[in-house]
């Protein structure tokens, strides 16, 4: 290394040192410490006592952990495809050259500006069984079905019925699709218009153009959004926590891994067990992200390559 290169390196390191220090103090150290705490009985106020793999054995035998994991995975598996399809559909519609396009775009983006806590409190009322807006919209349809078929269908008590609570939360999540819509809209601007013109000359219909031009050209953006959604969905905490008033929902149907970590760490003072849970979540996120990257990359079309 020449003197100049060494100087450059020193300067470079100096400039990024705040980030390095922050990373070491707030990311790497907590990660390593939580690996150690996950092997201990630790209540924060007392010295950790080494337990070996006991926390992991307990976790394996803990039905609540499995319930939380199941809820988290089901939520991610249903909410991500649903919100991705919806936001792509909305983006395509909002990309149509019609009068008032900007106003429509703003309207669909606005809800995603609502903070998670306000959103959860708002949805507490929207999903209220007897009085909620959602059920007020559903009831007329159910009444028609009941009158025609002679059935006794009732609008669900979203937040009190274990069968519907997760569905209610997924519905809540759709409220925030505006953010993804904006990213898809930006992606749609990058699709060359000549591709559509050429396809039209070849006699394709709108659906074929969407399937063979829009989707492939949008695939890098979809890939990015899906990856971020997986990470976000697995870390779901604030909305279900508020929706359930800090609890788990009926029959633990709204207990997520992140909530269970929080409960163990700050309500039960089982920081060792919470660390073991957190590491499981960490491994799950890394694992699913790697799988997504591995398989997703093959399907993504980068026009620059």
């Amino acid at each position: 290394m020449t003197l100049g290169e060494r100087r450059n390196l020193t300067k470079g390191l100096l400039f990024i040192s705040p980030w390095i220090l922050g990373f070491l103090a707030f990311n790497l150290y907590p990660l390593i410490a939580s690996i150690w705490f996950s092997l201990c009985d630790y209540s924060v106020l007392s010295e950790p006592v080494f337990l070996g793999a006991q926390n992991y054995v307990d976790l394996w035998n803990d039905p609540v952990f499995w319930k939380a994991l199941r809820n988290t995975v089901i939520f991610a598996a249903v909410a991500i495809p649903l919100s991705t399809s919806l936001s792509i559909g909305l983006a395509v519609l909002l990309n149509q050259p019609i009068a008032g396009q900007g106003i429509y775009r703003t309207i669909f983006f606005l809800p995603s500006l609502v903070p998670a806590i306000s959103l959860a409190i708002l949805w507490q009322w929207m999903l209220n069984g007897p009085m909620g807006l959602v059920n007020n919209l559903i009831r007329p349809f159910l009444n028609i079905i009941n009158a025609v078929v002679g059935s006794h269908l009732q609008a669900p008590d979203w937040l009190n019925d274990p069968n519907f609570a997760l569905g209610g939360l997924i519905l809540t999540g759709l409220w925030g699709t505006g953010q993804a819509v904006v990213i898809y809209l930006a992606g749609l601007q990058e699709v060359p218009a000549e591709l559509y013109e050429a396809a039209e000359l070849d006699g394709t219909n709108a659906w074929q153009r969407f399937l063979h031009i829009t989707l492939p050209m949008l695939s890098p953006v979809i890939f990015f959004n899906v990856l971020m959604s997986i990470i976000g969905a697995l870390q779901t905490f604030a909305v279900p926590y508020i929706l359930t008033g800090g609890g788990d929902g009926p029959g633990r149907s709204l207990l997520f891994l992140a909530t269970y970590i929080y409960q163990n760490a700050f309500d039960y003072w089982n920081m060792g067990y919470a660390s073991a849970l957190a590491l499981c979540l960490f491994v799950l996120i890394i694992g699913l992200s790697l799988v997504t990257v591995h398989y997703g990359e093959k399907k993504v079309h980068y026009s620059g390559r």
Binding site: L45, S46, V49, D248, G251
Partner: protein, 423 residues
């Protein structure tokens, strides 16, 4: 404030309850010129105190709940107060026994009471009259409560509930104490949870009878239509629930939110078996503690001792519309108190059958699990026996783990505490 020692005091109260304590703090600050108490209202105080204590910068005085004591004491978060309290001239005999008991754990005194409460049955007299019941005669047994319940419950044409006489989940704040009204307890105070004992079996059986009689989803649907507790839509005020278990503070909410001329009564909550004579209640109290590692414990105790003086305590409890934890109550306190049933609450608190609320080292896990299982039973989604035995399995394991941990640290910790409290 200059030249005075500054004490940091964190409290959980907001609104008029905070204001009542703020006046006592002002009185203390004006009563001398050596100590200045800085009073801060803090949300989620139990968690914030834990983090501040773990970080080595705890406040000097903290207002917690008595249910926090076992886990905080075992986790070395508190300072034992026996010696400081003795030096301050405060004695056990000054307090109603049940509230003193709530401040003790593992043979040490960890706190002194601030504002306490006992639970009691509250009933809506108008609804009693409409149902053909004598509005001056509350139920005395669980069987009677349920017979009244049948008469007070009304259904809509579509089968949904329009109103109900009583439902255990409204407000459901004392689910862990309910076994007391069935002649038992949730914990033996040592190593065993008592969920297998007859009173707990009866309690779970009682819960199971609700979905069978009223329909689980129907009860939760009715509950979904309830408004906020502190609002005119409180189900007790707007005639949705006729009988509830509540504390002494309820009168204040009735005055602020219930319709004009709202008529209600207060009596001991009915037990499974009638006990003539002394009434049964479960007591709880807000407490003042000094965190472990606090910098000025002597001065902190001087402030706490000031709060505990009869005059100041009565000012605080009057301001918060609660009862006093002290054995001696002045005539002015009774005269100036706005609660029409103050004497009923005082009688309950003084009763030899008044029991302290469940103070379990694993309280939060226990209470959280109980809510889950009770709701499943009330929804009719899980048989009571399954819920009770699953709950026992999980919670006994959690308690065993906590106690095993305690056994490891107990010798060192107890001997240090003993040294700390020696005169």
């Amino acid at each position: 404030m200059s030249g005075r020692l500054v004490l940091e005091y964190w409290e959980k109260w907001t609104g008029f309850e905070r204001d009542a304590m703020a006046r006592v703090v002002d009185d203390f600050n004006n009563s001398q010129d050596k100590i200045f108490v800085r009073f801060l209202s803090v949300s989620r105080i139990d968690q914030k105190m834990m983090l501040a204590t773990a970080g080595g910068v705890p406040p000097d005085v903290v207002g917690l709940w008595a249910i926090n004591l076992p886990s905080y004491a075992e986790n070395n978060a508190l300072m034992p107060l026996d010696r400081l309290v003795h030096d301050a001239g405060i004695h056990e005999e000054d307090y109603l026994p049940v509230f003193w008991k709530l401040c003790r754990y593992r043979n040490f005194l960890w706190a002194l009471p601030s504002t306490p409460s006992v639970t009691a049955l509250h009933w809506n007299k108008k609804m009693f009259r409409e149902a053909g019941l004598d509005p001056e005669q509350p139920p005395r047994t669980i069987a009677e409560l349920e017979s009244f319940n049948e008469k007070l419950t009304r259904k809509n044409a579509d089968g949904s509930l329009a109103q109900i006489g009583h439902m255990p989940q409204e407000p459901g704040w004392w689910m862990h104490d309910f076994p007391s009204w069935f002649g038992g307890a949730s914990w033996d105070g040592g190593t065993h949870l008592l969920l297998d004992a007859t009173p707990n079996r009866h309690f779970f059986g009682w819960l199971e009878s609700y979905p069978k009689r009223f329909g689980g989803p129907a009860m939760f649907q009715l509950r979904g239509a309830f408004g906020n507790f502190a609002s005119p839509d409180n189900p007790f005020f707007n005639g949705k629930v006729a009988m509830i278990m509540q504390g002494v503070w309820m009168n204040n909410f009735i005055k602020n939110y219930a319709p004009a001329r709202f008529e209600y009564g207060v009596a001991a909550f009915p037990e499974e078996t009638e006990h003539p004579g002394a009434p049964m209640t479960v007591a709880e109290t807000d407490i003042l503690v000094i965190p472990a590692g606090a910098q000025h414990p002597k001065e902190a105790m001087e402030f706490i001792a000031f709060v505990e003086k009869q005059k100041n305590m009565e000012n605080l409890c009057l301001g918060q519309r609660k009862i006093s934890p002290l054995r001696r109550v002045s005539d002015e306190f009774v005269k100036n108190h706005s609660h029409p049933y103050l004497r009923t609450f005082l009688e309950l608190a003084n009763s030899p059958r008044a029991q302290p609320t469940l103070a379990l080292p694993t309280f939060k896990e226990y209470a959280n699990d109980l809510t889950t299982y009770v709701n499943l039973v009330l929804l009719g989604r899980m048989p009571a026996e399954q819920a009770r035995s699953e709950m026992l399995g999980r919670q006994q394991k959690a308690l065993d783990a906590k106690l095993a941990r305690w056994e490891q640290v107990a010798p060192v910790r107890v001997s240090r505490w003993e040294k700390e409290v020696q005169p």
